[in-house]
Symmetry: none
Subunit: 86 residues, 4 copies
Amino acid sequence: MQVHIPVGSEGEFVAARLKSIVDRVERLEEEKSAIGVDIKDIFTEAKSAGFDVKVLRHVIRLRKKSDNERDEEETLLALYKSALGM
Amino acid sequence: MQVHIPVGSEGEFVAARLKSIVDRVERLEEEKSAIGVDIKDIFTEAKSAGFDVKVLRHVIRLRKKSDNERDEEETLLALYKSALGM
Amino acid sequence: MQVHIPVGSEGEFVAARLKSIVDRVERLEEEKSAIGVDIKDIFTEAKSAGFDVKVLRHVIRLRKKSDNERDEEETLLALYKSALGM
Amino acid sequence: MQVHIPVGSEGEFVAARLKSIVDRVERLEEEKSAIGVDIKDIFTEAKSAGFDVKVLRHVIRLRKKSDNERDEEETLLALYKSALGM
DNA sequence: CATGAAAAAGAAGCGC
DNA sequence: GCGCTTCTTTTTCATG
């Protein structure tokens, strides 16, 4: 493992850059988390409206999966072609 | 799999509401996922700048925990290590 | 977080138990890892025989998935029934 | 998806070999998975005995790394923490 | 070495 | 509230 320990003004610069990275990631993670809350709110509302949240989640998951499956079929097809030298 | 959708005006309403819920959740999940990509990009950039991504993640995770939590976990870890002669 | 710091003979006992746990887990992880090597060997052999390893992995993954899908369909059906009060 | 299986005696042979490969891998993956269950059981038992499973996993992970690796990662982590004023 | 897939770990949500 | 499952995240591995 390479551990470069910067000194003086270079170290200042590295520390500043580190702070910038951490700040930006934390900022984005907050946004991400906030969206998670929004999603949760929708499910809560749905539950109040009489929907079964577990079923809802499952349905949404299946819809996402369908998209993925399509991609995957294409991938596998391409793999077979490649494996057969086509 | 066949999903039964109730008919009549009430069923229409329920179906519309269901559709709205699913749409909104899917929309939000896309946003969430996009932010995930942004975060990944930052780590990629950080890596190019010479930072150790794994350690970066570790630090960010630590910052989320309160000081007490951090201390407690470290104490327990030290205890276990000591008991194992490490 | 509860951190119980045992003293005297009780501490000895706890340390012994900790060692036992760690030993057993490490032993099992070795076995697990050895099986991973065996699997890898089979793929190496398959490659020598002219099979495309990536495609093989994909096929095996799909077979596993098929089983899961069957389970999942049943689960979803049960969920729908439950959601519809059946 | 339709998978083309070559016909004729050569195809038979290839198909048989393919089947053998898939069977053996699946068999080994089952064993691997069973050991995973055993490990999980030990952690469950440990939890009942009052151990903190998360910290246990952490210790076991640390033991896998060489002393040098451990030191290096800790050094880098300390460096980052210091740069962030933690 | 960088990308992408598979496994493991951790966190969250659910029902009992 | 607690355990159990499900979902997300992290880490590791393999391949090009």
